[in-house]
Symmetry: C2
Subunit: 246 residues, 2 copies
């Protein structure tokens, strides 16, 4: 492809935890003047990121919906899962790179903070050496979740560990025992393993469950009071630190 002028920029823009007014001023400015916007979503769905910016995008913005070829149909540790996602990301990048090389800026919507367990990272690593990519950090879902509990997450010298519920139970237990404050993400169908691990680490009674932090559907409760509840993948379980304070 012949580059006809200066390259456009791919902006990986963190939207934060979900409430539209918790995105940064910088993110809002980029979105409200965007000509091209791209976002991930599950096939056939509107997509949470796209919905967040509904009132902000200008009229006539050109949209590029990147629909995941698989989500939970294949286990994430199966080679087919990796292969399907890998060629999906490569395709997405082909389209984004072509836009940038044609001089167009593109805003890629990212739920949460782009560099913290985000899907955008898979585009970023494939794009960064060929076109300019700028990343706008954002408020993490976990920040919104601990704010929702009304309790600070860390004091003094507390160690905070962030662990994924997809880990084996014995690894969960080890990290749960070792940390003062704890955030567990990617919950969903892993909730029973998380409960068991928290019990084994002696922290079950101190754990909170936060769903849809910052949104109108937000719920906050002690995990022990949510027995039997089905909880979404994006729920967060946390145990607050109790460190030094004057």
């Amino acid at each position: 492809m012949t580059v006809r002028g200066p390259s456009g920029v791919i902006h990986g823009v963190g939207l934060g935890p979900g409430a539209a007014d918790l995105m940064s001023v910088r993110a809002h400015r980029l979105l409200s003047s965007a000509r091209h916007v791209a976002y991930f979503r599950k096939a056939g769905r509107e997509g949470r990121a796209r919905k967040t910016v509904d009132e902000i995008l200008p009229e006539g913005v050109i949209e590029f919906a990147m629909e995941y070829p698989v989500t939970t149909e294949i286990p994430f540790d199966h080679p087919d899962y990796n292969a399907a996602l890998s060629s999906f990301y490569a395709e997405c990048c082909g389209h984004l790179r072509a836009l940038a090389e044609a001089g167009e800026d593109v805003v890629v919507l990212c739920e949460g903070d782009p560099f913290f367990y985000g899907s955008f990272m898979h585009l970023y690593t494939r794009l960064k050496d060929s076109v300019p990519v700028q990343v706008v950090p954002a408020i993490t879902g976990m920040s919104a979740a601990w704010t929702a509990t009304g309790l600070p997450i860390t004091w003094g010298d507390d160690v905070l560990s962030v662990v994924m519920a997809t880990l084996p139970e014995e690894e969960l237990v080890r990290h749960m025992k070792s940390a003062d404050a704890l955030v567990v993400m990617k919950i969903g169908r892993n909730i029973d393993r998380v409960r068991n691990a928290l019990r084994a680490a002696g922290k079950y009674d101190d754990a909170w469950l936060v769903e849809c932090a910052s949104l109108s559907e937000q719920t906050v409760q002690k995990l022990s009071q949510a027995e039997g509840r089905v909880t979404p993948y994006f729920s967060i379980v946390m145990v607050h630190g109790q460190g030094r304070r004057p």
Copy 2:
């Protein structure tokens, strides 16, 4: 004190990592319409939080500067340090409570995210049972720091641990060995202990040092290239996770 009408609200507003346009839209709205603003600072200094909002506060806003009685003159584990800070926080809260009880809303400026190792937490716990307190989460300094490195901090199932450089060296080593991704905060005069601990954990060569993330003075370099440098208290050292990715 007689309450003459509905109470005002104390807003603990996170400003984020430092760049004014990385605060949230909600924070910006609260600041630009504030009648009362309060903020911590070192005696005799302008204060970093106050400086961040210079262009945003409306004319005629009433300011309450809360000047720390001690910072590093007394070791933080000395009883005098705790006593001095404790009565300082109580005094600040007396003033803020009186404003709220008189029906005034107050915006308290918080660097970073208020509930993540922030000074506001000490006011919050003293105020929350007597007057309405609302907290606005924010982008953490560590998010701005890993964004500045141009490398995602966590992939797949990576465990992220956030540790304070004030911990004993053997505890630092233990947590550094155990985590996949690592953020070390409260650096300053503890930098040599952090270096030693990273070496013992086998992670020294992979560590980055970020100073003043998101500000014009920002510096980003491998820690090993910053030998002998004096680095500020708010610097951040990090080691990126290398987890699963398609």
